[in-house]
Structure formats: structure tokens, C-alpha cells
């Protein structure tokens, strides 16, 4: 399958009509400051460089007028890496890369098919370049919501049901999306075939909260906003590590379980997942599956056996806003100690009217806030002044 992807990639890039693309960019270049007028092969066009510290999934290699960005693990069990050549606008495309995906940077228009990319744009101050999103109704990022209201952002459909024609009509310089490795639901092979530039953001493959949020730098590469990204990210990472340090010192680490039962099946996270890392950093022990990064379906009785005496229950069905809802779905939940004690918290405090949950949007970009929430729940004495942002107590 991935060989097919690469083939599609190669074909798409080989067949894109470079002359027309550069024409449109150069005509725009008179309006924006992004393009170089007089190319000098000795100049380093990227004086501010990104350095990746936590994310395992991508790396960047700087050259004088272009950067080589590699997405190492675009999806589960991917056999190929993806490579993007980000060439400074107004400078020549390096010849040896003619067959890989070339994107001229900084890009002037972008369509983000995943809502997790929107906070990046807001943080980097480039929401004005955003012309389309997957689903306008589920957006939480305030800057984007504003722009949606004025009708300047078009909804083009989410990953599996992207409206290609509408996307082609928008003709963005870059589309950011994610891949699952399943050709039936992935949109990027089709988009590439249509001649669009598609960047696969694989943040969800990261196993640490900071690794996930560091993909801000990935987005920044396409806008030459490395400096801004470095500043914002290291600030957030510093905060995260400071509060994690405080939680590390706690004497008693409560036990936590997550998820919920649906018809006897209970998805349980792996101990190598980002969620396990979050709870470890919040001074708790998560009930999880050894040596597993994703979630696996367990039976309800199995989870009950593991978690009956656990202290806290977190992250359950997005629909639940009260404990009564949970119990009316299945009254066996009342047998959990956490339920008896009332230690039940759900990560759905900020959900917009159409069901878009900000936990999966700004939460991924601001791990320090999510961690603060968790510590506030599990060890309130550490952060007396923090009030919950994404979590709410179910009572």
C-alpha cells in the first residue's frame, strides 16, 4: 500500500506543471515579502533553524535555500518515509530532488484538514493564510472561528470524504492532513494525484505529549516561522516540565483508569501511549497494557478486574456530562471504587455546539494546560490556583 503511496507521490510530483505554479507564486510575490528577488547561492536563507527535541516522527535538514523535511513514521506500520523539499520562494529548486515533493515556502495559502493543525496556525500568527478546513462547524480555535463566521474559510470535508473539486477550486499552496495507511479512508493519494501539495502531519503517532505538541515546528517550517515556533514551544515545554517535576515529588500516586464500556468492549490504553506518559507526569499510575503504544479492546470484566479498586476514572464517552448518564447506560459502573468516591472526570468541558472537542484541538498544542488539569484533579495541593480547562467532574 505504501509503495503505492510513494508511486502516487512520485507521479504527482513528476507531473505537476511547475511553470504554472511558479507563475502564480511570482505574481503573488510582488504582494508579499516572502519571495527572494535576487538569488545568491551563497546566502543562507534560513538563519533561524528549528531543532527537534521531543518528537520522534520528523526531522529537518537545512541547506542554503531549501530544507529537507522527513516524516519518519507517517502512520502505523508505514514502510516508507515521506520527504518534502521546502524551497525558499524565488530560489532555484535543487535538481537532485526533482522527483520528491517540492513545496515553495513560505506558503501563502493553506487548507488544514485536521483541526489539530489549527492551533499551530493561530500560534504562528498565520491564520490569515488559512482558506479551508475539514469541518468548519467543529472548530474551536477562536481566531479560526472568527474567520469562519465572516465566511472566509471553506469547509472541504474531513479525511475520507474530502470534496476534491472544492479543494481544487480553492487551489491552496499547501494541504495539511494526516494518514492512516488505509487507502479507503486516506485522502492524500488522491490529492497528490490532483496536483496539490500535501503535507502529512503524523503528530498522533508520537508517544509523548510534548512530542505531539512539538509538531508545531513542523507546521512552522512551511511558513519560515521557526523562530516563533521555537519560542512558543520551549516556553510551553518548560512549563510542562516544571509542573511535572512538582508532581514527581508526591508521596502517594493514585491509580487511574480510562475509557468506557461499549457492548462489553473496553478500549484500554497501552503503557507506551502518550496518555500513560501524561499520567506518569501527573504523579499517577495508569492502568494500562504493557509494551503497547495504542489502545486494545479488552472485555468489561477484564477492565473491572483490573480497575475495581482504582482511585480515579478519567476520559470516558464524550457524550457524558453527568455521572447519571454513565450509570443509566450501564449500572455496573457503580461497582467501581472511583465511582463510589465520586472521582470521575471527563475531558469534555470545552465542546462546541456541534460536538468539536477542544481537548483534541488546543489540548494537543498545549500539553502544559492538560497536565495542569490532571495534576489539579489528582494532586490539587500542587496547583491551588489552576482552574480546570478541559476536564470537568462528573457528578
Amino acid at each position: 500500500m505504501c509503495q503505492m503511496c510513494l508511486a502516487a507521490l512520485v507521479v504527482a510530483c513528476g507531473s505537476t506543471n511547475d511553470s504554472t505554479t511558479s507563475d502564480t507564486i511570482s505574481s503573488k510575490s510582488k504582494l508579499t515579502t516572502g519571495c527572494i528577488e535576487n538569488y545568491n547561492s551563497q546566502t543562507d536563507y534560513f538563519p533561524k533553524k528549528a531543532s527537534v527535541r521531543y518528537a520522534q516522527g520528523f526531522e529537518v535538514e537545512y541547506h542554503k535555500n531549501y530544507k529537507v523535511v522527513t516524516v519518519k513514521n507517517p502512520w502505523q506500520n508505514a514502510t516508507n518515509k515521506l520527504q518534502y523539499i521546502l524551497v525558499q520562494c524565488g530560489t532555484p529548486i535543487p535538481e537532485k530532488f526533482s522527483k520528491t515533493q517540492v513545496v515553495k515556502v513560505p506558503v501563502n495559502s493553506i487548507v488544514a484538514l485536521s483541526s489539530t493543525h489549527l492551533p499551530h496556525l493561530a500560534k504562528l500568527g498565520v491564520v490569515d493564510k488559512l482558506i479551508g478546513v475539514g469541518d468548519t462547524q467543529r472548530v474551536n480555535t477562536p481566531e479560526v472561528v472568527e474567520k469562519v463566521k465572516t465566511g472566509k474559510i471553506v469547509g472541504v470535508g474531513t479525511n475520507s470524504s474530502v470534496n476534491i473539486e472544492r479543494l481544487l477550486e480553492l487551489n491552496p499552496e499547501l494541504v495539511t492532513t494526516f494518514g492512516t495507511g488505509n487507502p479507503q479512508t486516506d485522502s492524500h493519494p488522491k490529492l497528490l494525484e490532483a496536483g496539490l501539495k500535501v503535507a502529512i502531519n503524523a503528530e498522533y503517532m508520537e508517544n509523548t505529549p510534548l512530542g505531539r505538541s512539538e509538531w508545531l515546528k513542523f507546521t512552522a517550517l512551511f511558513f519560515n516561522q521557526e523562530e516563533q515556533a521555537e519560542k512558543i514551544f520551549s516556553n510551553s515545554a518548560k512549563k510542562y516540565e516544571q509542573i511535572a517535576m512538582k508532581a514527581k515529588a508526591v508521596k502517594k500516586r493514585p491509580t487511574v483508569f480510562t475509557g468506557f464500556n461499549f457492548k462489553g468492549t473496553w478500549y484500554t490504553p497501552g503503557c507506551e501511549s502518550y496518555l500513560a506518559k501524561y499520567l506518569a507526569d501527573a504523579g499517577a499510575n495508569l492502568i494500562c497494557l504493557d509494551k503497547v503504544t495504542s489502545s486494545l479492546p479488552l472485555s468489561f470484566e477484564d477492565v473491572f478486574n483490573r480497575a475495581e479498586a482504582a482511585d480515579y476514572w478519567l476520559n470516558m464517552s464524550q457524550e457524558w456530562k453527568t455521572l447519571k448518564q454513565a450509570i443509566s447506560e450501564d449500572n455496573r459502573y457503580t461497582a467501581f471504587t472511583a465511582v463510589k468516591k465520586g472521582n470521575v472526570y471527563n475531558n469534555n468541558l470545552r465542546v462546541n455546539t456541534n460536538g468539536g472537542n477542544d481537548y483534541w484541538e488546543s489540548g494537543i498544542s498545549n500539553p502544559d494546560i492538560v497536565l495542569s488539569d490532571l495534576i489539579k484533579i489528582l494532586h490539587p495541593q500542587i496547583l491551588p490556583n489552576h482552574s480546570l480547562v478541559h476536564y470537568q467532574k462528573l457528578s
Partner: protein
């Protein structure tokens, strides 16, 4: 003489089936993803204190309702499958041949998937809680059933009815596909999870409703076993006997639909059991007499469902398999065998 022998054989078979059923039931209680020693299981069943108090909950609130649901579901699907196979004189007919599961799927899809389009889901879940899916599925199944019954009064030919049932099914699944297309991945996941089928979703609170509906459906089915025998000979023969064919057909379809509909509502669309069980019984008892087949299918369906449930949780492995994949893996060899057997018997 041969008749007596045959009767003896039948009684022995029934006895064996009943013993197997008891064993399968106990095995389903004893084995699960959490390993509980057999003597502890018995201790709990006898109402005494086990070594670990968690085990009481696991046996009494998780495994017992699951095993009972499996028995009810297997029985109901087997019997309605048998009724449909005889009514349509088609060996591949099953409980869902009239589009009942598609109707139920549409009901569930409306609740789970269309929540953000028409807000049905929120209203439904708000009022009904755990019954929301079951009621939506029942309404969907009942709507299709109603259509089929109306048509069955006008169309005398059962073959036409069968084709119409299939067409209803196509139309409803087309609507489900449209809903799926416009849904978020989390909702799609919930819907898919429902289509996987499961006996584990029924709690004690829901059990009475499920049990009463199944028992009612079975009662009607058993009363209709004799007319089914007549149908087997042919509709024209039944007419010459002065039987009210229309009435018989109405009751058979009603009971089969209640049985299939209620199981689909609580457990999801469970594949193959309904098709495979009647065939197994026909070849095992070597008869087509519904007075024998009806009870045989009742027990055999329960046994197969319990075995399927057992296989969903592989001992020593912590994850669970979707029920529908297991029933299909058991069911396909049976149906394959039936087709080949018929082919070679010609």
C-alpha cells in the same frame, strides 16, 4: 420397528444436546478474560464467599447475563432462521432475509450517526439512556416488518416477498451509508462496534425485556410448528387442507421478526447463526418434522451461541474478538457443507 428406533435415537440426541447445553453454559461462566478457578466459580454460583470479592461481580453481573443473553440470542435466531427457511423454501434464508436487521441498523444509525445532523441522538439518549439503541433498533426493525406484512397481505407469492425483503434491505443500507458518509470517525466507530455484535451489552436491568420478548416469539413459533410442516409440502396442498394460508404466514413472519428484531436490538446484527443452526439440526436429526426441529433448533442455537461467545475471549489472550467474526467463522463451514452436500446429493 424402525419408527420406534428413530424415536429412541431422537430422544438420545435430545438428551445429548441438553447435556452439551449445560456444559457450554457452565464453561461460558467459568472461562473469560479474567481467570477464576473453577471451584471458586462453583462457590459463587452456590452463593458462598469466594477468595476474591471482585469475582462475585464478575460472575454474577458480567458473565451470567452474558451467558443468558447468548442462550436467548442463539435460540431466537435459530428458530426464526428455521421459520424463514421453511416459509421461503430456501436453504439460504435466515432471520434477516426480510430486511429486519437492515431496518434495525437504520434505527441505530439514526441515533448514533445522525446525532449532529438532526439531533435525534441527543434527545434519544437523554430520555432513554441504555435503552436508546435497543428502542431505535426495535423501531427500525418494526418499520421494515410492518412494510413486509402489508406487502405480504397483497402479494400471494412468497418468492416475490423474498425479493421485496432483499430490496428493503438494500434501500435501508443505502440510507445507512449516506449517514456514515457524513459522520465523524468517533460516531462511525460506535456504529461499527454495534455491527460487530455482542452478548455482553445486556445488563440485568434489560434482561427481563429481552427474555419476555424472546419467550413470546418462541411461543408463537412453537404453536406454528405444525402448520410449518404443511407449508413444507407446498402451499397448494395447504390450501386443499383448508388452512388459512394468509393467517399462518402472518404469524410466522410476526414471530420470526420479533425474535430477530429484539436480538438485533440488544446484541447487534449477529450473522450466520440463524442460517447455520437449522441446517445442523436437520442433518443431525435427519428429519424435516418441525415438531422435532423446533425444540432441536432451540437448544442447538443456544449451544452454538455459547460456543461463539467462548471463542470471542481466547483464554490467555487479553483482547476480545468481535462476536460477528466468530459466528461467521463457525457458520460459513456449515453453510458451505450444506451447499456442497445438496450439490452432490443431486
Amino acid at each position: 420397528m424402525r419408527l420406534i428406533k428413530h424415536k429412541q435415537k431422537t430422544s438420545i440426541l435430545f438428551l445429548t444436546l441438553l447435556i452439551t447445553l449445560t456444559l457450554a453454559f457452565l464453561l461460558d461462566l467459568a472461562l473469560g478474560s479474567v481467570s477464576i478457578p473453577l471451584n471458586q466459580v462453583i462457590t459463587i454460583l452456590l452463593g458462598q464467599q469466594p477468595e476474591k470479592p471482585t469475582w462475585i461481580n464478575i460472575i454474577l453481573r458480567f458473565r451470567l447475563p452474558k451467558a443468558l443473553t447468548a442462550i436467548l440470542a442463539g435460540t431466537a435466531l435459530g428458530v426464526s432462521g428455521l421459520q424463514m427457511q421453511t416459509l421461503f423454501r430456501n436453504p439460504l434464508a435466515g432471520p434477516f432475509v426480510l430486511g429486519i436487521s437492515s431496518g434495525a441498523s437504520l434505527g441505530v444509525a439514526l441515533v448514533v450517526l445522525a446525532a449532529n445532523i438532526i439531533n435525534t441522538g441527543i434527545i434519544f439518549q437523554g430520555i432513554l439512556g441504555d435503552f436508546s439503541l435497543a428502542i431505535a433498533a426495535t423501531l427500525g426493525a418494526a418499520a421494515v416488518l410492518g412494510l413486509v406484512l402489508i406487502v405480504s397481505r397483497r402479494v400471494q407469492d412468497t418468492m416475490t416477498l423474498l425479493i421485496l425483503g432483499l430490496l428493503f434491505g438494500y434501500a435501508t443500507s443505502a440510507l445507512v451509508t449516506i449517514l456514515l458518509y457524513f459522520s465523524e470517525s468517533q460516531q462511525i466507530q460506535t456504529y461499527l462496534q454495534w455491527t460487530f455484535g455482542s452478548f455482553a451489552g445486556v445488563t440485568w436491568r434489560q434482561m427481563p425485556i429481552l427474555a419476555i420478548a424472546v419467550i413470546l416469539g418462541l411461543l408463537v413459533a412453537f404453536v406454528q410448528s405444525k402448520p410449518l410442516n404443511v407449508l413444507l409440502v407446498g402451499e397448494s396442498y395447504a390450501l386443499t387442507l383448508g388452512l388459512n394460508l394468509e393467517k399462518i404466514r402472518f404469524w410466522i413472519i410476526t414471530s420470526a421478526s420479533i425474535l430477530a428484531g429484539v436480538i438485533t436490538a440488544f446484541c447487534g446484527p449477529i450473522a450466520f447463526l440463524g442460517v447455520a443452526v437449522p441446517h445442523l439440526c436437520r442433518s443431525l436429526f435427519n428429519t424435516s418434522d418441525h415438531r422435532v426441529l423446533m425444540p432441536a433448533v432451540t437448544i442447538m442455537g443456544a449451544i452454538l451461541a455459547l460456543i461463539a461467545d467462548l471463542l470471542c475471549t481466547i483464554p490467555g489472550n487479553q483482547t476480545v474478538l468481535p462476536l460477528n467474526s466468530v459466528t461467521a467463522l463457525i457458520g460459513t463451514p456449515v453453510v458451505t457443507w450444506v451447499i456442497l452436500h445438496r450439490y452432490y446429493a443431486r
